[in-house]
């Protein structure tokens, strides 16, 4: 099993959970709309493949993203280590790749990549290898949202995306002359969301 990226997204987008979720090849795309008090956010979610070597393809998906969710499996310490690496990579790209992210208009209003660190499979508490505090601490050091979720039980899944939506909405306060991708003066925000692995 992977860390549960696809399961997490499927739970959020379709409310489904499959015990044996097919391995993701390359990446898969999902969308979901979520209303928070500040605005309506449409998530364009890229769910990327978990295997290390697919990492080489990831940049084209996270480039220009407004938010990124880095997922690890609380029952496997190794996935936490990989999650940390991802966070570092994403932060670098956020700082140094600004010119490229211009290509996505919503980035104009979300200059900072909103990042969330997620410890999935919280239902496997008995097999826990990564303590809650470890996750929290790392997230805090890096200015990330943190949450432990279970795609299986749905615990904290909607909450996670809700928090991200809120952060996206506040990161880009409503601006009458702001830009939306569909050229309508709506309150809607769009966030390309990148889901990657720990």
């Amino acid at each position: 099993m992977g860390t549960g990226k696809t399961s997490l997204v499927l739970r959020f987008v379709k409310g489904q959970f499959f015990h044996h979720q097919e391995a993701t090849i390359g990446a898969a795309f999902f969308t979901q709309i979520l209303s928070v008090s500040e605005a309506t956010v449409k998530f364009d979610i890229w769910d990327t493949a978990g295997q290390e070597r697919y990492h080489s393809l990831a940049p084209m998906y996270y480039r220009g993203a407004a938010a990124a969710i880095v997922v690890y499996d609380i029952s496997t310490m190794d996935t936490f280590a990989r999650a940390k690496k991802w966070v570092q990579e994403l932060q670098k790209q956020g700082e140094e790749d600004a010119v490229m992210t211009l290509n996505f208009q919503f980035i104009l209003r979300n200059p900072k990549l909103v990042m969330a660190l997620v410890g999935n499979k919280s239902d496997l508490d008995s097999k826990r290898e990564v303590q809650v505090e470890e996750g929290e601490e790392f997230a805090q050091e890096n200015g990330m949202l943190f949450m432990e979720t279970s795609a299986k039980t749905a615990e904290n899944v909607n909450e996670l995306f809700y928090e991200i939506a809120k952060k996206l909405a506040t990161a880009s306060p409503p601006n009458p002359s702001g830009v939306t991708l569909n050229h309508e003066e709506t309150q809607e925000r769009r966030g390309k969301l990148f889901c990657c692995i720990g």
């Binding site: 097919e22 390359g26 898969a28 480039r63 496997t76 600004a98 002359s177 702001g178 830009v179």
Partner: protein
């Protein structure tokens, strides 16, 4: 008649002329019921191959099931006719076969014919599939044979020669295997900087072509996957299409053209497993006991294999990055239950066979090891053929057809996406303009298409039809043609989308409902004949250096963000106007320098130069193109009367003063 959940595209997809007979749906209902009993809780419907049908596609699948059945009957007749004529004309067998084989021949030939007909009956096939006769382990085989005496015994064996009626085809295709062997040796010198090359597989003359003068082409030595010195495979730089490959043999095989037409029309289900082996040239590739020896390594490792697998389950990815032995083991274990979950044939025995197959391949070619996607390929092959046959077929596909694709750096995969992007740009400028406008990169969607060879991306009937042609042609041309055909079919719907998310969603879902497999394959094969191996070879040469440069930079341990420069920024290069395309084609030689120039050139002077100098400075091409793109972007935004705000935003966010002045 056809209702579609994807409304926007209903008109574009439903172009088959054949009528739909509602009665046929019955048959499949029966099938669904039957399978529900054995499937996991969440799976609702399965198709004639035992694969899950997504809920939103069930209706359309049922409509097409009838067409599939008609097509299957027609093609079975055509193939039977073809094979009969072939048998007649080949009264003097090309290959002197041992007499025992001859005996088996006549028996199996009968058997084969009857099976072609049987294959048209879907329900029969389903039963056979769910019996999973191909997937049984050694020790359970005998039981299965006894419990299912009506089944062909030779299908249950670990290694089985394909039926003699197909051996002429196999012989023709095997010539290609040999030729590739030669090519790959020539190419060792020229394959520049490909950091990972698959192990040269041992190929020895096996079977009947003893009197062929090709023996000298074989590397007769058994190659040990560990000791073998890495040599370049042939896949990526091979020239000539499938047809060209076998061109010199035209006189020997006068029926080749007819065969090609037949393959494009689809391979009968009952023959598919064996024809695929023939196409891949499995018999010519096979080395006796090689598969068994690869697996035997495991037992040599002692009892700790179980522990190892458990350990690497938790540490799998760490070991993958540091490159320990059997580092792929954990990943294989993870993926076994995630390969066509709930498929009736993938019971415990089936998954054990899958584990063996993937393990053997990883040991055979450590430079690739195990890559996600191979689990799906291997499982499909196991559904169609005995285990060892599946191994040699998989080996042919990964080592030859997809050489460099699934290796650690996935270089050829990245190269192919750049090539495809260029082809799409050339063929569908309007569509690409629209996608550019939305900020959609074609490769987001087509990358996974190529890597999965359309598995789980298209309906199964279409996947198999594409594989028929791809395996026959012996290269990746069909990947490109199919993807282009999909763009042709769905481009009109895509240009109506209003944002990136909608476009990607639509393309993904339209592709997933491409049930008209014949239309797809014929559009692909007929409409894009000028997309051939020669052309792809040239385009790959053009783009490869940039990808390799980016990969090398990354492996040198430069900043992680530059990882993205290879593929992503190259893709951006295409995002502009036709002018930049011309630049792109003219500056092939500069590609090697791309990553340097772009990483170093954030200073404003250079930006200024490339802005004012317009298209003629080759020095910082990528940056220049980015700037052109930015200009286009800005112009558009300005038109929207938000100029002041945006200028301010840009100014503050990115400090690109120069940009603003220049605009």
């Amino acid at each position: 008649m056809r209702s579609s959940s994807s409304t926007a595209a209903a008109a574009t997809i439903s172009t088959t002329n054949k009528g739909v007979n509602p009665v046929i749906a019955f048959e499949h209902k029966r099938f669904f019921k039957k399978n529900l009993e054995v499937t996991e809780e969440f799976i609702t419907d399965r198709d004639a191959y035992g694969f899950a049908v997504r809920p939103q596609h069930v209706q359309r699948y049922r409509e097409y099931a009838n067409i599939y059945k008609e097509e299957e009957e027609e093609r079975s007749d055509r193939w039977n006719d073809f094979l009969e004529r072939q048998a007649e004309s080949a009264q003097l067998p090309v290959n002197g076969r041992p007499s025992e084989e001859g005996k088996e021949t006549s028996h199996a030939a009968e058997d084969g014919d009857s099976e072609v007909k049987k294959g048209t009956e879907r329900d029969d096939l389903c039963e056979r599939k769910s019996g999973s006769d191909n997937l049984s382990e050694n020790d359970t085989e005998k039981e299965k044979v006894q419990s299912a005496p009506e089944k062909k015994v030779h299908r249950i064996q670990i290694w089985t020669e394909i039926r003699p009626s197909l051996q002429a085809i196999e012989d023709m295709m095997s010539v290609r295997v040999k030729k590739k062997g030669i090519l790959s040796k020539d190419e060792q010198k020229t394959s520049q900087g490909k950091p990972l090359t698959p192990t040269e597989d041992a190929r020895s003359p096996k079977g009947a072509s003893e009197e062929d003068s090709d023996d000298e082409f074989y590397d007769a030595e058994r190659s040990d996957p560990v000791q073998d010195s890495p040599t370049s495979g042939s896949g990526s730089t091979r020239t000539g299409g499938g047809a060209d490959d076998a061109a010199p043999t035209e006189s020997l095989f006068p029926w080749k053209e007819e065969l090609e037409v037949l393959v494009r029309g689809g391979v009968p289900m009952a023959l598919r497993g064996e024809l695929w082996q023939a196409f891949v040239g499995v018999r010519a590739r096979r080395v006796e006991n090689y598969y068994q020896d690869l697996l035997a390594n495991e037992t040599n490792c002692g009892n700790n294999t179980e522990q190892q697998s458990l350990q690497s389950d938790s540490k799998g990815s760490t070991t993958e990055s540091i490159g320990g032995p059997e580092k792929w083991k954990g990943q294989i274990e993870k993926d076994l239950p995630r390969t066509f979950p709930g498929h009736p044939a993938l019971d415990d025995d089936g998954r054990n066979a899958l584990r063996r197959l993937l393990t053997a391949y990883a040991r055979h070619n450590p430079s690739v090891g195990y890559c996600q996607a191979m689990n799906f390929f291997a499982a499909l092959l196991l559904l169609l053929m005995p285990e060892e046959n599946a191994f040699w077929t998989l080996m042919g596909i990964i080592d030859d057809y997809f050489d460099g694709y699934y290796s650690e750096e996935m270089i050829e995969s990245q190269v192919d996406q750049l090539v495809f992007e260029e082809l799409v740009r050339e063929r569908f400028p309007k569509l690409v303009n629209h996608l550019d406008y939305l900020g959609v990169q074609v490769a987001w969607v087509t990358g996974p298409w190529f890597l999965s060879i359309f598995m789980n991306m298209l309906p199964w009937e279409s996947v198999l039809r594409v594989w028929d042609v791809l395996l026959y042609e012996g290269n990746r041309v069909m990947l490109f043609r199919t993807a282009l055909a999909l763009m042709e079919l769905y481009g009109p719907a895509l240009v109506t989308t209003k944002d990136a998310g909608d476009a990607v969603t639509l393309l993904q879902s339209l592709a997933g409902s491409t049930f008209d497999s014949s239309q797809l394959v014929l559009t692909a094969c007929m409409g894009y004949q000028n997309v051939n191996e020669k052309r792809l070879h040239d385009l790959r040469e053009k783009h490869r250096s940039a990808v390799i440069a980016a990969v090398e930079e990354r492996s040198k341990g430069l900043q992680a963000w530059r990882d993205s420069q290879g593929l992503a920024s190259k893709l951006y290069n295409f995002k502009q106007d036709p002018k930049s395309m011309i630049m792109e084609t003219n500056k092939t030689k500069a590609n090697g320098d791309l990553s340097h120039s772009e990483s170093g050139s954030t200073n404003s002077d250079e930006v200024l130069i490339s802005l004012t100098g317009d298209a003629d400075t080759g020095a910082v091409p990528v940056l220049q193109e980015q700037v052109v793109w930015l200009k286009v972007e800005l112009c558009r935004l300005l038109e929207e009367k938000r100029s002041a705000v945006l200028r301010l935003n840009l100014y503050h966010l990115y400090g690109l003063h120069v940009l603003l002045y220049a605009v």
